[in-house]
Symmetry: none
């Protein structure tokens, strides 16, 4: 949930205000006063989100936005434009910047945070919402329910995500590092052995329906979910 946000804004006061708020919300903030200086910052750090002021010295925000959306390297980065009231009617009209949202100055910190959250949520990697069923073990991402041969299985959030990932990638060995990446998220610092503990908890929960045998240990490599 904490994201790296690049703020491209030439007015120091506004820039600092935004930065302060974003930091409060737990995000990592980078700042650039112009499009030019923002360029290599983007290439270097690949922020999760860019806040781009409409009016900038040098290359305007519009042109910069267009440029970003034309570059395959930066195209996927969500973009929120900051516009001042009065600029919208004429200038926004007909533009094809590909911005994901707009915030009109003056804005409240709460509004900004909400919009950021919304934009980040929308590009969230949606794992398939389809029901997975392997050997009588069924996991439904929509209802968040797991059943073994019809009998309900109780899982904690992490065990649920772990099982979901294993079931959507069966027959394949996953190292602890890979599991940490895909199940925990790549920006967390946890011991690799923690995976073992959660695997155990998962097996324990699957024991009543004998489905625990599906979760297999591959010595020296990691874990695997397999029917055989």
């Amino acid at each position: 949930m904490p994201a790296t946000v690049l703020v491209v804004e030439d007015e120091p006061a506004i820039q600092e205000l935004i930065a302060f708020n974003l930091k409060q919300a737990g995000h990592i903030v980078m700042a650039a006063p112009s499009a030019e200086s923002a360029q290599h910052l983007i290439k270097e750090t690949l922020p999760d989100l860019i806040l781009l002021d409409w009016m900038l010295p040098g290359m305007s925000g519009i042109d910069f936005a267009r440029k970003l959306k034309n570059d395959s390297y930066t195209k996927a980065i969500p973009l929120i434009m900051l516009t001042a009231r009065g600029e919208e009617q004429d200038k926004v009209k007909g533009l094809e910047t590909g911005a994901d949202d707009y915030v009109t100055k003056p804005f409240s910190p709460r509004e900004l945070n909400a919009r950021i959250k919304a934009v980040l949520r929308r590009r969230a990697p949606q794992m398939t919402d389809e029901l997975v069923d392997i050997a009588g073990l069924a996991l439904d991402p929509v209802t968040h329910r797991v059943t073994g041969n019809g009998a309900p299985v109780e899982l904690g959030p992490t065990e649920f995500r772990l099982l979901h990932f294993l079931m959507t990638h069966p027959e394949r060995v996953h190292s602890r590092a890979q599991l940490l990446d895909r199940v925990w998220g790549n920006q967390v610092f946890v011991e690799e052995r923690t995976v073992d503990v959660h695997i155990r908890r998962l097996r324990q929960a699957l024991e009543p329906t004998r489905h625990n045998a599906l979760v297999q240990t591959v010595r020296g490599a990691g874990y695997r979910l397999s029917q055989r």
Copy 2:
């Protein structure tokens, strides 16, 4: 017949105008400035109606409409296209892609509301007006009344909408963010924990008839309405 409407429109001025009018008419409004950003929003919130601008940055409104109508998941959602004057010759094309109606810019709020009402009446008998009954808990959207085993249940407006949404989308787990989108509207900036408070008030109101057990907490995920 309050409905949740998604407005896909890239010009903030027009977007805000439409949103204002829809809210006046009692609808819940969500907005997205592009087809790409609208996609996730649709999957998450299942709006009752989509207002789609003809001209959009990135994927055009036409292509997006076609895509929506080809997806079984979104096919049933009524669609109204917004076209600018001079694009009229394309109306036919728009209707061919599966749009249920079109509105030409500039339009009057009255016209827009009328067309929305017509489309909703024609297309969505399942969501808007029908009485919902789950395990003896009955909710009537028309009379705005809720009864548990015949006994009246007193709810505030927000709790009513919350319960209505949960009852029309049962078994499914809804994150706090999704509930904020669907029950509050995503242009309202409210803390996620507020959902908890309203869930509690809802449970409290349902307590006398033991129907509070229908509202379940799914730790780390959200809330769910279920018989089991």
